[in-house]
Structure formats: C-alpha cells, structure tokens
C-alpha cells in the first residue's frame, strides 16, 4: 500500500513500534539478568539492576564438570562452530555444488552435537536439547508436508466435505488439553512406543494439524486459481503444478505456518510430559525448577529459559531475511 512520506508521521510510527518492542522484550531481558545473578540477588526485595554477574547457573545447567575443565573444550567448540559458519557463508566461492556444501556443514554440525556428550561430561539438560531438536524437526517436517497438501486441497475443493473436515478439525482442536492426558498415555502404553520420539512427533502433529490446515488453507485461498490452471493447461498434473507453481508462490505462508508449528512443538509441555519418562524435552526439563520454594531455582529456571529461547531466536533472525525477501517477491508476483 502507499507509504506516507510525512517525516513526523514516520517518526510517530517508529516511536509506537519501539514502545511495543520494549513491552515485548522487557520480560526476556529481565530473565537474562536473572540468569546471571546469584540467588540472593534474584530474590532481593528491591529489583537489582546492578550486580556482579556470574556464569554459575549456566555451568550448573549444562555441565557436570567444572567450568575450568570445560574451558579448552569450549574454545575448541567455538572454533569449530565458527569454521562451520564461515564455510556455510562462503559456500558460493567453494568449487563444489552449494547444496553439497550446506549438507556437509549440517552433517558436521550433527556429528559434533552427537559426539559432545562422549567427549565431555554434559548434564542432562544437553540431552533434553537434543531430544527437543529431534522432536521439533520431525514434527515440522511431517506437519508441514501433509498440512500443505491438505490446506491446498481444502482451499480448492469447494464442497460440503471440506466443511465437514474443517469443522471436525476444529472439534479436535477445541478439546481441552486435559482431555488428552489419559488417552494419549494409554495409546503410548498400548503401542509400545511410550517414551520414544516417534510417538511424541505423531501426537504433536495430530494435535497441531487442525491449526496447520486452517492456517495454510487461508493462505492458499488468497491465490488466484488462474495461476495453477495455467500450469495445468501446460500439461502438468495437480501435484506437479502444486509443487512447482503454488509452493514457490506460497512459501511466505508456508514459512509463517512453519514458524508457528515449530514454536508449538518446541515449547509444548503437556504432551511431552505425558509421553516421556526419561527422554524429556526442554520445557519438561525446565519445569522441575519452576515450582517449589528453593531460592536457587529462580536463577536456574531463568538460565534454562534463556538457553532454550536463544536458539529459536537465532532461527527466527536467520529466517527473517528469507521471510521478508519471500514476502516481498511474493507480492511482486501475486
């Protein structure tokens, strides 16, 4: 839409957005401060903005060894990660196919992540992170692929059957999470898949599927039919025209949906709590410090929350670029 050129109006806009931003991030900033405090500073009657920061909470969270022992490994880890990032960023200049370079970097990263607990004595929290990453990526992959197909089908098949499916999905989604507890636990025991990633992934997919198909459907509804009809006249089938024409146009919508699916899966507490016994995910691991009266738990929970949130923030900031670029190019085409 038309952008205003009035400098005063622009100033007001930035000011409003800045205020909104402060309201949004302040609690997280406070969590970061708390995570660097000693319990006595975090539990004081006056809020303390100045204190001598400590890394103890993070060390206790991640390591079973002393930080001094970890230092050389930590340095090596930082160097390896830095090298991987540099390789990934300069992929274009390496005389090999880009996709091969990215795959290699990802494989190396996975290898490092899996080898780490064998080299140094990491605490359980590290295992929770690995579990969370597996479950989140699994959920994202299954949920988006079947959800995109269904969302597209629903947007294009104008028939009462589509309404039935959408309403049924709503009925499933409106079920209180409390009602899921017993049946899912029972399903887990019955199938013998209790405490496995695969069961958690499929339950998360099922619970989030109504959201995913409703959201993707509303994005697909905005695409004019003529676009894929043109492709189909050229002889492409439904599936091919979907993959080669619709998905590229709609990937802002798919990325947006993916972002929310990722957050739902990554932050889910209840299902992970019911369906796991030792293979905890991060939110379940954190919950052990959020109740109770132990004053040391506040700082530990804060450190755990910051450790859990930061990776996702990096993912968002990384995809940000693609999100906005995708959105912009989608607008030009659309």
């Amino acid at each position: 839409m038309t952008r205003t050129n009035n400098p005063l109006a622009r100033l007001v806009m930035y000011a409003v957005l800045a205020l909104f931003t402060v309201y949004n991030v302040l609690p997280f900033c406070w969590t970061i401060l708390n995570s660097l405090k000693l319990p006595k500073d975090a539990n004081s009657r006056q809020p303390r903005f100045l204190f001598s920061p400590t890394g103890d909470n993070y060390a206790e969270l991640w390591l079973n060894i002393s930080p001094a022992e970890f230092a050389p490994y930590g340095l090596a880890l930082v160097l390896i990660l830095f090298a991987l990032v540099v390789i990934a960023l300069s992929a274009r200049r390496i005389p090999a196919p880009n996709s091969l370079v990215y795959l290699g970097v990802i494989a190396a990263g996975v290898a490092v992540a899996l080898a780490l607990p064998r080299l140094i004595n990491t605490a359980e929290f590290y295992d929770y992170l690995i579990n969370s990453v597996i479950v989140t990526i699994g959920t994202l992959a299954v949920s988006l692929s079947i959800g995109a197909l269904a969302g597209y089908g629903l947007a294009r098949f104008r028939h009462v059957v589509s309404v039935y499916i959408l309403v049924l999905a709503l009925a499933f989604r409106s079920l209180p999470s409390l009602a899921l507890v017993l049946p899912f636990y029972y399903l887990g025991q019955l199938s013998g898949l209790y405490d496995t990633h695969i069961l958690l992934i499929f339950c998360l997919v099922a619970v989030n599927q109504p959201f995913t198909i409703w959201m993707l459907r509303s994005f697909f509804m905005e695409i004019p039919r003529e676009i894929e009809e043109a492709a189909m006249i050229d002889g492409a089938g439904r599936l091919r025209s979907f993959i080669s024409v619709i998905v590229p146009i709609m990937w802002p919508g798919i990325i947006t949906t993916g972002l929310f699916t990722l957050l739902l899966a990554y932050n889910d507490f209840l299902l992970a709590r019911i369906l796991t016994q030792i293979n905890w995910t991060l939110p379940v691991g954190i919950a052990q410090w959020t109740g109770g009266e132990d004053p040391g738990h506040i700082t530990l929970a804060a450190a755990a929350s910051v450790s859990t949130t930061l990776p996702i923030l990096f993912v968002i900031i990384f995809f940000q670029k693609y999100l906005i670029r995708g959105l912009a190019s989608g607008a030009v085409k659309g």
């Binding site: 708390n34 629903l154 009462v160 309404v163 959408l166 709503l170 409106s174 599927q209 940000q320 959105l327």
Partner: protein
C-alpha cells in the same frame, strides 16, 4: 478439483488426525457419562447424564464461564486490532523491520513454562514493573481481584498479539498489486485502499485469527494458574482452570470429562458466525 485428487491431497492429514484424536474425543464423551475418581479408575460407574446435570447446576461453573466469556470479549478484539495496527505500521516502514518482527515474537518464543512466571515476577514485589510504578507514580501494586484479572489480560495480549501481527503482515505482502495500482490511479487515499482492497483481501486470515484466538482464549489456563497462584480470592477462574480443579483437586474425573465435552460445545456455539462464514466460503463457486 475432483474427488479422487481431493482425497489424495487431504488423506494423510485427515488420517493422522482421526487416528490420534478420535480416542481422546470419544474418551471424553464416554468418561463424561461415568462416575470416576482416582480410586475407581478400573471400575467406572455408569451414571448417565448426572455429571452434566451437576455441572450445569454448579454456580462455580457459571462464574468461571462468565469470566471466560468476558476474557474472550476483551482480549480477542484487542489482539486482532493491535495485530492489524502493528502489521500496518510494519508495512509502512522499511528500516529495522527484521528487528521489530523478531522482538515482537520474543514473548511467543519464550518457553511458556517460564514466561508466565517471569511475567508475574515483573509485576510482583521485587520486580521491575512493580518497582517503577512505585518510584514513578507512587503506586503500590497489590495482587487483588481487580489487578489479577487485568494481569491475565495483559499477559494474553503480550503473548498473542505477535501471532495476529505476523499473520496479517504476511497477508499484507500478498495483496494483489493490480487492484492497489488501479485504486491508486483512481486517487484512492491510504484509508480507502485499506478499506476497499486490503481488508476484503485479508478476510479469510481475519476469520482464521479470530477462530484460533477465540479457541485459545476459551481454553486459557497456564496464565491463570500461575498468576492467581491457585488462590481463589482473585476471582479470576476460567473454565479450564475450574476443569483442572474438578479433575485434580476434587478427583472427579467423570465430571471433568463432561466439562471437556461442554467446552467443545461451548466453543462451537461461540464460533457459529465464523463457521457460517467458512461454510459460505467453501461452498461458493470460485
């Protein structure tokens, strides 16, 4: 699109939902017709609709329903209006977009298990908001039956506005450029472009956000649990919170399941206008 292609596209998704979600839905219906506590889990006693009678005659149920509906009536429009406002602002600016978007998502990204707790601590004694209100306005915030419901509302706005904002912002980027161009040539002002081109185009996204927001607001639980610290004096019980109490504190699992079924029905009643809109959208020839 014909029937076969349609079932091919929709099949996997419908299968996985039916396979995993039918059992919980049926279980709620069946268990809701029984008298079950933690003591007779293996031998539930059939009592027909007695649980439903009990729920409907329960003044606490009606109190919690009233607060839940009030909560929906306040927060859902606020979320959508604020989400649209910030999406439009983001659409207007060019610089720092990424920063604003990432920052807006922080409350949504923050692990809810801790996020709610931190949010309360900010307003509680020893938290920064509490401290600033006291220093700047000489106002001492007490947790009482006015402030706690307000905090629950603030919390919901804090966590849920980013969702509406991002979805609408993404929608704004897919506006049909030809219509906008035509409107511009005809000399349409920004507000006319908004009213006649953008808002109609975003219709199905508004419906979607409203659906999701109403459902989530109807089922709000975590923030109530943490912010009231399970203390009844704050008068801020929602349906889900009361449902939890019936199940966990009173051990009446059958009654809780009857409430779950009533919740599904209640959400559907609230959603009727949106369902009608979706029905029209789906059956109209396009």
């Amino acid at each position: 699109m014909n029937r076969t292609t349609f079932s091919f596209f929709v099949g996997p998704s419908v299968f996985i939902m039916l396979a995993l979600m039918t059992l919980p839905l049926l279980a709620s219906i069946v268990l809701g017709l029984h008298f079950i506590t933690f003591r007779n889990l293996d031998a539930p006693q059939w009592i027909g609709l007695q649980n439903y009678q009990e729920v409907l005659a329960d003044p606490e149920f009606w109190d919690s329903l009233e607060f839940t509906l009030l909560f929906i009536a306040i927060t859902v429009p606020l979320r959508i209006v604020l989400g649209l406002l910030f999406a439009l602002l983001l659409d207007q600016i060019t610089r720092f977009r990424g920063v604003f978007i990432a920052a807006a998502l922080v409350p949504f990204v923050m692990t809810p298990v801790v996020g709610t707790l931190i949010f309360r601590d900010m307003f509680d004694r020893g938290g920064p908001y509490w401290y600033w209100m006291q220093q700047l306005f000489d106002y001492r915030l007490f947790m009482n039956s006015t402030t706690v419901p307000l905090l629950i509302i603030f919390h919901s706005i804090w966590t849920a506005t980013p969702f509406a904002m991002i979805v609408l912002f993404a929608g704004l980027q897919t506006l049909p450029q030809e219509s906008l161009e035509a409107a511009r040539v005809d000399g349409a002002s920004w507000s006319q472009q908004l009213w006649h081109v953008a808002l109609p185009h975003l219709r199905s996204l508004f419906v979607f956000i409203a659906l999701i927001s109403i459902m989530d607001a109807y089922r709000v639980f975590d923030s109530v649990f943490v912010l009231t610290q399970q203390n009844p004096i704050f008068d801020a019980e929602t349906i889900m919170y009361y449902n939890f109490q019936v199940a966990m504190s009173f051990g009446r699992l059958g009654k809780a399941n009857a409430m779950s079924v009533l919740t599904v029905i209640g959400i559907f009643v609230v959603l009727v206008p949106f369902l009608v809109m979706t029905y029209r959208e789906q059956t109209e020839e396009g």
